[in-house]
């Protein structure tokens, strides 16, 4: 290969590495985005990033924020904490970002928070959120997304709409987040008068049959899956393979209507499948959804899902925070600005996303969806969760 060709390839790679970093001007807002684009949960995080990227592209094409464009540096952590920390340091030191958005699973976040607190860089996660965002919130860390503990409790509250009584079986892989979700789900359903059973399996499980068989033998009135898209597809097919035809609830940890569709196809039936979501789904009628779908069409994003919605809402949040921060935005002033954000998501969540000095998560809204033929249909209204009902340990 000639030197010219190699240089050409290297240039192309560098050019693709960030949205427009090479052409960043002094007055542009520089922000970072870190997520898992190649690791085990890339299937969930990639559409979330695409949703965020889509919002920023559309915003920049509208002229940015008061004429200032937003420049995003994107880095892939592969779901590894060491890579996430290295990416955050690089973005702060080389890309000179004001704040970092996105982030991947909870296990990668704590070391990034520790490093960013040293330099006062605000972090806004989406999926997943960790307890550091709840009151008394830790400095510099915020989340607009799904927190396992809160989701677990919301699912407990929704149980009556799925099965009136009996045993609820929670399934998860053996992880900190999974155990947290299961614990809060258990406490919430027991409070509602259900009995509880649970099946934990190794994180790196590929064949789910024995775990589904164990769950089915518990004779559940409903099964709740606390894991990502791929586990849901495998478990639902395996559960239906055991002859269990009862309700199955997908917790929205990286799962979307695409997950339900795949699971229904693999299981041979979409009957009795539910999903609980923090965000609206593309078939919902909301002004924000119309904006998203129009942008997706314009920029060539095919079949946006609720994971795209997740990223899009984070983009809305970033715009609002930067707008509040003003033209001479610094890391410190952005951090303060975020604490004052009250974002109307135009129907993409059940209510506004609100931050304050002491609460970096705010109230969250959850909705139960039922799979009907080929789409998710909302069951009743959004449920507002303002605080955890049960202790965290």
């Amino acid at each position: 290969m000639t030197k010219t060709k190699m240089a050409g390839i290297a240039f192309a790679i560098l050019a693709a590495g960030s949205l427009v970093s090479a052409s960043a001007r002094a007055q542009d807002y520089k922000i970072g985005y870190i997520t898992d684009l190649s690791g085990p949960l890339a299937g969930s995080y990639t559409p979330t990033w695409q949703g965020f990227e889509l919002y920023i592209k559309a915003l920049n094409d509208r002229g940015g924020i008061n004429g200032h464009k937003i420049v995003v540096s994107i880095d892939d952590d592969g779901l590894r904490a060491d890579r996430a920390v290295a990416a955050a340091k690089k973005q702060v030191e080389s890309n000179e970002v004001l704040g970092i958005f996105g982030l991947s699973l909870s296990s990668t976040q704590a070391p990034v928070i520790a490093e960013m607190q040293k330099v006062g860089v605000p972090l806004v996660s989406t999926f997943s959120a960790i307890l550091a965002a709840l009151p008394p919130a830790k400095a510099n860390y915020y989340s607009t997304g799904v927190m396992f503990e809160v989701a677990g409790e919301a699912i407990g509250t929704f149980s009556k709409k799925v099965a009136p009584s009996g045993k609820v079986v929670g399934m998860t892989f053996d992880s900190v987040g999974g155990r947290a979700a299961i614990l809060h789900n258990k406490l919430a359903v027991e409070k509602e008068g259900y009995t509880w059973g649970e099946v934990l399996f190794p994180v790196r499980t590929a064949d789910f049959t024995p775990f589904a068989q164990t769950a089915a033998e518990m004779k559940p009135a409903m099964v709740v899956g606390h894991y990502g898209a791929e586990q849901n597809i495998g478990i639902i097919a395996a559960l239906r393979g055991t002859g269990y035809t009862g309700p199955y609830v997908i917790a929205s940890y990286g799962a979307s209507e695409d997950t339900v569709k795949q699971a229904a196809a693999q299981a041979g039936s979409g009957d009795n499948l539910y999903m609980i979501s923090r965000y609206a789904v593309p078939t919902d009628d909301a002004p924000g959804m119309a904006d998203l779908i129009a942008a997706a069409k314009k920029y060539g994003v095919v079949n946006p899902t609720s994971m795209h919605v997740t990223g899009w809402v984070l983009g809305m949040f970033a715009e609002e925070a930067l707008k509040k921060c003003g033209a001479n935005c610094t890391r410190e002033s952005l951090d303060k600005a975020i604490q004052g954000v009250k974002l109307d998501t135009k129907g993409l969540t059940g209510g506004s996303i609100e931050m304050s000095a002491g609460n970096h998560y705010g109230p969250t809204y959850w909705r139960l969806y039922h799979w009907e033929k080929d789409k998710l249909v909302g069951v009743g209204d959004w449920l507002k969760e303002t605080d955890l009902a049960f202790p965290t340990n």
């Binding site: 399996f201 164990t214 791929e230 097919a237 393979g241």
Partner: protein, 292 residues
């Protein structure tokens, strides 16, 4: 009974994986660490081919999909041999083993780039074949997995025992230099080994994707296949079959009777015990181990 059938079905898939690893090892003394990736990439190709031939994989569209996948895996086996493994002939076998690790990384990256890490299932054979009175069912795919495994191993046994090419394969595996001197086309034998390995990996991947689902993480089944091959003996097809069923039984019985969270650990415990007690595996030969 449901548990027994599940073990047989998963064991069949692991046996197919182990069989592919053994074939390559027998022919070239190379341990193929990319076997799980080959299986899952093959299954993703099958899934994509299925979309091209028809939304529902039934009848003619299923047959065309199978034909495309079989042809694709055969071609890919030849490409791997010609582009990578042939260049390493005469080099220490650990170099080739390292190359298979590189191949595994590239194939996994391919899943990320081409299929965007999407989790997909292959929706064939999930219909119940038999329902037990006390609950539990056997699906068609369970039966298909077992039958496919039996047919594959029977075909390999016939090929190696009764065909001229199979006998040449065994001769080349035994002593490549002598075989070459006797006009055996060793390159053809080695290419054939990779073709058979990629084909069996693809078959295993498709069967696995039909009973579970596919994602980049699914490549972990390669580790189960390797464990099965090591437990059975790296140079024994009979050992590969037994190893596959042992690993599946250990996984299922641990999950159901001891603790689900230990299910993936116990097969490796068995591997440690076998490797300590009989490093050449249950049916492997000591001579082969010494050669390595």
């Amino acid at each position: 009974m449901e548990l027994f059938v599940s073990i047989l079905a998963l064991g069949s898939i692991y046996a197919l994986l182990a069989g592919g690893i053994v074939i390559v090892y027998k022919a070239s003394r190379v341990v193929n660490f990319a076997h799980g990736e080959l299986a899952i990439v093959g299954a993703y190709v099958f899934h994509s081919a299925g979309f091209l031939t028809g939304a529902t994989l039934t009848g003619p569209s299923l047959l065309v999909t199978i034909a495309i996948s079989a042809a694709g895996s055969t071609l890919f086996g030849v490409v791997i041999y010609l582009s990578l493994m042939r260049r390493l002939l005469g080099r220490p076998t650990f170099v080739a083993a390292m190359v298979t690790i590189g191949l595994a990384i590239i194939l996994k990256a391919g899943i990320v780039v081409i299929w965007q890490s999407r989790s997909v299932g292959i929706a064939i054979g999930r219909q119940p074949l038999y329902s037990f009175a006390g609950g539990g069912r056997i699906a068609w795919i369970d039966l298909v997995s077992i039958v496919a495994c039996v047919l594959m191993f029977a075909a390999l046994a016939v090929f190696f025992q009764y065909t001229p090419l199979g006998r040449q394969f065994r001769g080349a595996a035994e002593n490549p230099l002598l075989a070459a001197q006797r006009q055996v086309n060793v390159n053809l034998i080695l290419a054939l080994a990779w073709v058979l390995a990629v084909f069996s990996a693809t078959l295993a991947g498709v069967l696995f994707g039909s009973r579970s689902m596919l994602s980049p993480q699914s490549t972990i089944i390669g580790l189960s296949g390797l464990t099965a091959a090591l437990v059975g003996g790296l140079d024994s097809l009979r050992g590969a079959a037994l190893g596959g069923f042992l690993v599946a039984a250990a996984t299922y019985l641990t999950a159901r009777l001891i603790s689900p969270t230990l299910a993936e650990t116990v097969p490796f415990l068995i591997l440690l015990v076998v490797m300590t007690w009989r490093p050449w595996g249950l049916f492997g030969t000591l001579e082969e181990l010494n050669r390595v």
